[in-house]
Symmetry: C2
Subunit: 154 residues, 2 copies
């Protein structure tokens, strides 16, 4: 999983049209939102993540909260992004991973941060105003160490 | 080399502070700029590119012009970015590659596109408003096939 964390004075998005057949249904998640003082997490779920989604998501969620604390963001946005890796997970796995990431961030966020998730598989108009301070653009990568898949005895 | 091409209704940047010791000198290149209807090329120069910088840059420049034509951008922005790969070229090689990329884009642009390059190695505040149409976010990767380095006979 690759993430790019941008600390934004302002951020907004609006879904415009489906990019893939398996795009998240338009009624299951807000198609537009905006936030100020937001930690925007551009997130690419990779194929290898499917070996242990929970492990990858928990590591990412821990780091995201840590950065949110350092930069004193008030909102965290989980923003699906196809461009941080060339080895994307298939759409269904990608959506499940992003939902789990949102859930794990919310668990750690408590009342401290508002958490928003943007829809997967849609072309989206977006605006971002990156602060430009030394912690305003950070990238992280996660790979499962322990496989959670069934091991077939040979 | 990894590039992320974003077609932006508006884009602006402003250098704030040095991120590395070998940042481009502040007087050698504009520290801030803005553009409308811009094809913003977030560019990460990779270590492997140094095997044949010219080959990589020419392929990238060809693709960038092709996308600029498709989306009918009026400005092309070469924007150094550290986050599209984990295997970055060292700073001096990165700067040389980005200067060459700017040059090769300008050659192909003629009078049709205004070309801007943002400074390397600076934390930058930036604003971008991505159109969100189906060609407004594209990524490409390039690797040298032919090594241009001296081959030492064994
Ligand atoms: Mg996506
Ligand atoms: Mg940079």
């Amino acid at each position: 999983m690759r993430i790019l964390l941008i600390h934004a004075r302002e951020f907004s998005f609006k879904a415009k049209s489906k990019a893939i057949a398996d795009a998240e249904p338009p009624d299951s998640i807000p198609s537009e939102a905006s936030a100020e003082n937001a930690l925007v997490v551009f997130t690419t779920v990779e194929d290898v993540d499917t070996q242990n989604i929970r492990e990858v998501v928990e590591k990412a969620a821990n780091d995201i909260i840590e950065v949110a604390e350092k930069v004193k963001a008030s909102t965290i946005v989980v923003y699906p992004y196809a461009h941080l890796s060339r080895r994307l997970a298939p759409p269904k796995a990608g959506i499940e991973a992003l939902k789990l990431l949102e859930e794990e961030i919310k668990k750690r966020a408590g009342d401290k941060y508002h958490v928003i998730r943007a829809p997967f598989g849609w072309y989206k108009e977006f605006r971002i105003h990156c602060y430009g301070h030394p912690l305003s653009e950070l990238s992280r990568a996660y790979t499962p160490k322990a496989s959670a898949k069934l091991q077939v005895e040979k």
